[in-house]
Amino acid sequence: MSTVAIPYDIEPHPITGMYNGKFGLWLFLASEVMLFGALFSTYILLRVGAPAGTWPHHGSEILDVPKGTINTLVLIASSVSMVLAWASLKMNNFAKGRVFLLVTFLLAGVFLVIKATEYYAKFTHYQIDVKTPVLLHGEKVTRITGHLHEQTDEHVVITPDAVKGQEHPAEMEIERDNIVRLTNFGPQHSTYMATYFTLTGLHGLHIVGGMVVILFLLLTGPSMWSKNPAKLTNRVECTGLYWHFVDLVWIFLFPVFYLL
């Protein structure tokens, strides 16, 4: 198809020092800052305004901190390999650049797999609120958390979570009539879980989007490198900027949800 030659498509503009794509990407990131900024503000407003007892004191009561820590390291490593990919292309070493791109892609995949196991654990973990208190760990309680075994119209069978250092308690049968609310730890569980799933979910979508772009670069890279190496290098640079941003969002998400 015929196209018009666009100035500063590849070479940087003498005043801004950026080619069009890089400038555009920075603007896009500015809008992304506003998107996640709004969501983090939402988190602050909802947490500050949460009715007593509805927000966990500490994220680690619910979330898996070791897994979160590993994922943080995985993402930081992927950012490093992304930079190395761009640096290799800048130094005219396409083969090496391609390997680093592939490493970035795989690390992103590792991140998603670990995240998926965390999500799965939440969706299979249940909470039951009851009207008449039941006996658990030697105390009368109205809330039981654990894993479900059986659900019928009459009753629910649950294995309650163990208290640290003690043996797993025996299965409990709870009458349907006694149940006020039965929910897993999905987004509908509480505003905390809702915020967690929305923000990490949106972040996960950004990871997937980045992976699609990296895959595209891996597949189209060889032919573009032979025709227009500067353009490919620019594309990898822009993808890298986006990737570091997504990484940075996680650097905020991790302490906010897991550690605070």
């Binding site: 198809m1 069009n20 400038f23 555009g24 909802l46 999905g186 505003t191 929305t198």
Partner: protein
């Protein structure tokens, strides 16, 4: 540089999936004009219910179908649900599918690259994607009329808790909005990069036509204000689809039932903050391109440089900045607290200053001019007092005390419609008449233009002026039947007048529609610069070929060099040196 290879392309690449900014601009403009007509049609039907509550809708009642209309023994009347859906969709369509796409997508795309002497936008394919995202958003919005329960019916502001528990149409509305936001985002990135990186040689920032400045500031507003609404949209989708309760407080009561199964802990006010964080800058997204168009038309038809060009530019930048700091003046009545209200009252008063400076500059520009009363100039001149009325009536709403009486009444409707309808829309009409010769090589008919302008000018005031009185009488803005209350029944006469003016106004648009299509094929053929204008778009052929300029233009002077003493011609195009 290669250009004018447009004829090599197959039809669908040249006119449908085109990457040429001019074709995309025209696609945007035509689609947006159709949506404007649709939005106007919706309100025309609602106005029948308001003027004659409960009376059968003549002729078209039967066509609308349930649940929008309900059967009576003698015919069909608009139902409350139908009225709510039409009201919500009138606002949504007019703002997000009509005015913004026409002002930014249409005029911005077509005019901006030409005015800065660029061959195209910086990202032509992104530009195409932006149009198709907008188009898809429009299709989703239209489809929502046909899902069970009809289109979104919680008002164009979609306030929860109502919108959280509304029918499926609301989910469609949210998906449609995500597409429209994506479209704006792609467009605004494109505009900013194009303006900064691709200006012609010699076109420094203070030689930019004011229209370009207006589009540049608008793009920043779209870029930074829309994402919070996207965030809010995602949260509302989670509320509606995933069972969360971001916007539903604990102990919420719906239809007398306490909603125990909610996780609770949400805040309905959170939505309002996120929504208005977009929607107030959005007001300036609606008005700034209009000011840009009016400035171009006024400079051209007064044959004088704009008075206070730099004041206009600095005011616009300040206006853009301040527009992020006034959003909560829409929320004085929510009980968010006096400290916040006082802060937002102060910023609201401050933002009126640059608006007044801009309007003053435009009015002083008329002083001592020998004005050409062309059709675009008539619309631009009408814009000035209409925008002034819209702006001045906003002051009592921005003051917390007087807002208590006026909040959510027809006064508010009158106020913002004066800004957007006889304000922005008139400016957009001015733009259509002004740039039509550039897009088609033909001028629109003068007589039909005046037949469009004068009745429109009279009837649009007949629509919106009485609303101030209806509102001050206490009639609420979303009311289905105001005659049910004594204070409403007392001003029903005015409401009937508004309705008749609205119907006459829609009839007044037919000369425009006829003129538009007739002139594409039969309009008077004109040369490249029929208005003897100075800015760069007029130095390109009409219509400009693919790539716009035969040789990249070099700019030698400012944008409005009109009536220079001692010169033979009364204008000097930007690419011609003043001394020559």
């Amino acid at each position: 540089m290669s250009h004018d290879h447009g004829h090599d392309l197959p039809f669908w690449r040249k006119y449908i999936f085109s990457v040429d900014h001019k074709v995309i601009g025209i696609q945007y403009a035509v689609t947006a004009l159709l949506f404007l007509f649709l939005g106007f049609s919706l309100i025309s039907i609602m106005r029948y219910q308001l003027a004659y509550p409960g009376r059968d809708i003549p002729v078209i009642g039967k066509l609308l179908g349930e649940p929008i209309v309900g059967k009576t023994p003698t015919g069909y009347v608009l139902t409350g649900d139908g009225y709510n859906a039409f009201g919500a969709m009138h606002g949504t369509i007019m703002i997000f599918l009509g005015v913004v796409p026409l002002a930014v997508g249409g005029f911005g795309n077509f005019v901006l690259p030409l005015q800065i002497g660029a061959p195209d936008m910086a990202f032509p394919r992104l530009n195409m994607a932006s149009y198709w995202a907008y188009f898809s958003g429009g299709v989703v919005m239209l489809t929502s009329f046909f899902v069970p329960g009809g289109a979104a019916n919680s008002g164009w502001t979609s306030y929860p808790p109502l919108s959280d528990i509304a029918t499926t149409g609301q989910t469609m509305w949210l998906f449609g909005m995500v597409l429209l936001i994506t479209s704006s985002l792609l467009g605004s990135v494109n505009f900013i990069v194009t303006t900064v990186q691709m200006r012609a040689k010699g076109l420094s920032f203070f030689r930019l036509p004011f229209f370009v400045w207006a589009q540049l500031v608008t793009s920043f507003l779209l870029l930074l204000a829309f994402p919070p609404l996207e965030a809010a949209g995602v949260l509302q989708l989670m509320d509606r689809l995933a069972g969360t309760s971001f916007f539903l407080p604990s102990g919420l009561v719906v239809s007398g039932q306490v909603q125990n199964q909610l996780s609770g802990g949400g805040s309905p006010l959170l939505w309002q903050h996120l929504f208005w964080f977009l929607a107030h800058p959005e007001v300036y997204v609606l008005i700034l391109p209009a000011l840009g168009i009016v400035a171009e038309v006024i400079a051209n038809n007064t044959r004088k440089p704009l008075w206070g060009y730099k004041s206009l530019v600095y005011s616009t930048i300040f206006l853009g900045f301040m527009s992020f700091l006034v959003w909560a003046h829409h929320m004085f009545m929510t009980g968010m607290g006096q400290t916040l209200s006082t802060f937002f009252q102060a910023t609201t008063m401050i933002i009126s200053v640059p608006s007044v400076i801009i309007l003053t500059c435009l009015v002083i520009s008329l002083w001592g001019a020998s004005i050409r009363f062309t059709v675009p100039m008539l619309f631009a001149l009408a814009f000035l007092p209409m925008f002034a009325i819209g702006g001045l009536t906003g002051l009592p709403l921005g003051l917390t005390t007087s807002d208590i009486q006026l909040h959510d009444t027809y006064y508010v409707i009158g106020h913002f419609h004066y800004v957007v309808a006889p304000g922005t829309l008139f400016a957009l009409f001015a733009g259509v008449y002004y740039w039509f010769p550039k897009a088609t090589g033909r001028k629109m008919n003068d007589f039909l233009g005046k037949l469009h302008f004068w009745p429109s000018f009279i009837f649009i005031n007949g629509v919106f002026m009485p609303m101030f009185f209806i509102g001050m009488a206490g009639v609420l803005r979303r009311q289905f039947d105001q005659t049910e209350q004594l204070h409403g029944a007392a001003v029903q006469g005015l409401t009937v007048m508004v309705s008749w003016s609205a119907w006459m106004l829609i009839i007044s648009q037919f000369p425009f529609i006829i003129n538009f299509f007739w002139s594409i094929f039969r309009g008077e053929k004109v040369e490249a610069n029929p208005w003897q204008a100075t800015t760069l778009e007029w130095s390109a052929p009409s219509p400009p070929p693919h790539g716009n300029f035969a040789t990249p233009p070099v700019v030698a002077c400012g944008p409005y060099e009109y009536s220079i003493p001692g010169k033979e011609k009364d204008f000097c195009p930007q690419n011609v040196a003043l001394e020559a």
